[in-house]
């Protein structure tokens, strides 16, 4: 199992957030009026958003572990 470092998790989290924002630019919002092809338009920004959340949890966990270690010392 791959164990990414805190920095790698942070980069993945931020990169996915940026991509989520950028992919929102390309969304054709007219599909919400017609109701056709909504998934096709919106799935990529949602995927990036969920990925940034996905990498945020282990990143925050690592931060907590570090702060606990420091407080124990």
């Amino acid at each position: 199992m791959w164990k990414p470092s805190k920095l790698v998790l942070f980069i993945l989290m931020v990169a996915n957030s940026i991509f989520a924002g950028l992919s929102l630019i390309f969304v054709d919002w007219k599909v919400f009026e017609t109701g056709q092809g909504i998934y096709d338009e919106i799935h990529q920004p949602v995927l990036f958003f969920l990925l940034s959340i996905f990498f945020m949890f282990p990143y925050v966990k690592k931060l907590k572990e570090e702060s606990n270690k420091k407080s124990e010392k």
């Binding site: 199992m1 791959w2 164990k3 991509f19 992919s23 995927l47 969920l50 990925l51 996905f54």
Partner: protein, 159 residues
């Protein structure tokens, strides 16, 4: 030309001058001479708006409904029917003629969307290989499947 093709098409002399006029002048002259009326303009504007906002089939269906709602005279109805048949014929010959602006934009951003989908696939692969709990792995698998679907959809023109 009529004698060669065996037709009886006739143009008013004014129509021959249209080539020298701009769009507004042609519209004004056509209205003045009674070649078209305000109903024709409204119907065509609605058709064009539908074509831009939706697709050809919806635009044509709405146009037909609009014509039926107007209770036009037989002569006017024939005119609109002829327009529909011409538009359908053109669409049959080349369906790209009536592709909306949205579709063109979609193609233009296709490269970026494909690159984004590949990045998302790489990120979900990283997530899948680093998950530690059952819940996290289930989420990673789900995201990985969505990312695969995303690549299939966004990169179909490049694979």
């Amino acid at each position: 030309m009529n004698s060669e093709l065996g037709t009886s098409v006739s143009y008013p002399n004014l129509a021959l001058d249209l080539i020298d006029y701009d769009r507004e002048q042609i519209l004004n002259l056509s209205l003045r001479e009674g070649w078209i009326n305000q109903t024709d303009i409204d119907l065509n504007n609605a058709f064009l708006a539908d074509l831009t906002n939706n697709n050809f089939d919806i635009a044509l269906s709405n146009f037909e409904n609009n014509v039926l709602e107007l209770n036009l005279s037989n002569q006017e109805f024939e005119k609109q029917n002829l327009f529909v048949n011409i538009v359908k014929s053109f669409n049959d010959i080349d369906s790209k003629l009536f592709k909306t602006q949205t579709s063109n934009n979609y193609q233009a951003r296709g490269g970026w969307a494909c690159a984004g989908a590949i990045f998302a696939l790489a990120a979900t692969t990283a997530g899948l290989s680093s998950c530690a709990t059952i819940v996290a792995c289930a989420g990673a698998i789900l995201l990985h499947l969505v990312a695969l679907d995303s690549v299939a959809r966004k990169c179909k023109n490049y694979l």
